[in-house]
Amino acid sequence: MTEYLKGNYKVGAKIEEEAEAADATEQFEKKALSRLGGSICFVSKKTLMWNGEPQPQARRADTVEGAERSEAGEPQPRVDKEHGAGPTDR
């Protein structure tokens, strides 16, 4: 198509509308982020609680071992007084 449609003059004005609009949106979003947000951080990590040491993988009730214990009526792993009660690595 460019073979047939060719301009025969040069445009003097520099068109920057889109760039300006994008900058404004970016500015707004930056400003918004500085004023909105939570009261405590969220860390994208599969850990609810960390107490100083690398946490062992939690044993889920739906893993084979957990399910076997459950079916056998054996007690499930319970509170770890030092590192917390629930699974710390989810």
């Binding site: 609810l48 509170v79 629930g86």
Partner: protein
């Protein structure tokens, strides 16, 4: 992507930027007062059984009379409340076993515990505008006075799971009301990074770091599960949204959104149709972020999370959605 969700996608980093410095400063101020670890709550006499109810301060609490129904049912499991829900709990005759507080804001959060220093309406209109505890809207000073009396009366029966980031004014108020404080660190960042603030804080005080999910309601759920080991957790008042017909003016971030967007402020709200209740609720960018984070956390957690709010937008994989009465009826050892 719509505006609200686009803003929400940046809130994890933005919250760190806004909260970390003041949270760490508060931890430093609170240091002389820090005694018991939150892990010591495991040895406390709380509710019976493996169930817990986590109480958020969303509008469904009043709309569904959730606390009154909880009280009438004689629920005997553990009740963990967010600080914003404390007043509603006590007025309904529900004394939570544990109240969770995290927000480092210097002036506002103490009001959830009743601020004895407040003698005239505050210049800050937050409590006259917020939707979390509507009694503060009509008569700010009277509602605060009544809350001071309630917290003073029941404080000695309530344990507070306090983040080290909590405002010193909150800590002082809890101590004054005879509440027992149990401490934890907010997880600020990835503790495996060599320059981690979370790790540095842990090295200073050896308190466990909890992943708070952006808000105190989610932090209360983390306390119930990861700290107390509860395996079946019902949620009430955890809406992360505003009900149909609510006015934008009464939403958490309205002034900020109007200041930034002018007439286009409504574009920042996300509307979510909830198929469980047949209603469409709406939320601002922070709430949609809280919701997405919570769904991710609950979906991977080794416990059953049951949304009993009968409202809001918190539904999806990993969360059951049932009526509160059904949760209470099937409560096993919790009742």
């Amino acid at each position: 992507m719509e505006l609200g969700r686009r803003i929400a996608s940046g809130l994890e980093a933005a919250t760190f930027d806004r909260i970390a410095a003041i949270g760490l400063a508060n931890a430093e101020v609170n240091r002389p007062r820090i005694g018991r670890s939150v892990l010591e709550l495991q040895a406390s006499r709380l509710g019976m059984g493996e169930d817990a109810i986590v109480v958020g301060a969303g509008p469904s609490l009043a709309r569904r009379r959730s606390l009154e129904r909880l009280h009438a049912a004689g629920y005997a499991g553990t009740i963990v409340a967010s600080d914003g829900a404390l007043g509603a709990c006590l007025r309904a005759g529900v004394v939570p076993h544990v109240v969770v507080t995290v927000d480092p804001h210097p002036d506002r959060i103490v009001r959830w515990f009743g601020d004895p220093r407040l003698t005239a309406p505050s210049a800050d209109d937050y409590f006259r505008r917020q939707e979390m505890d509507p009694v503060h809207r009509q008569d700010e000073v009277g509602a605060n006075r009544a809350l001071v009396e309630l917290v003073d009366a029941f404080g000695p029966k309530i344990r507070v799971a306090a983040a080290t980031s909590a405002a010193p004014a909150v800590v002082a108020r809890c101590e004054q009301a005879g509440m027992e404080l149990y401490w934890w660190n907010p997880m600020f960042d990835d503790y495996e990074r060599p320059d981690s603030l979370s790790r540095r804080l842990w090295e200073q005080n050896r308190l466990p770091c909890l992943n708070g999910g952006g808000n105190v309601g989610t932090a209360a759920w983390v306390v119930a599960h990861a700290v107390l080991g509860k395996t079946r957790i019902g949620l009430i008042g955890m809406d992360f949204s505003y009900p149909p017909g609510a006015s934008y003016e009464k939403t958490q971030y309205y002034p900020e959104l109007v200041a930034m967007l002018g007439d286009r402020f409504a574009d920042a709200y996300t509307h979510v149709a909830n198929p469980h209740i047949g209603e469409t609720w709406f939320c601002d960018p922070a709430y949609i972020w809280f919701r997405d984070v919570f769904l991710g956390m609950a979906g991977e957690a080794d416990c059953e999370t049951v949304n009993c709010t009968e409202g809001g937008i918190l539904f999806g994989e990993g969360i059951a959605f049932t009526a509160l009465d059904e949760f209470l009826t099937r409560g096993g050892g919790g009742r």
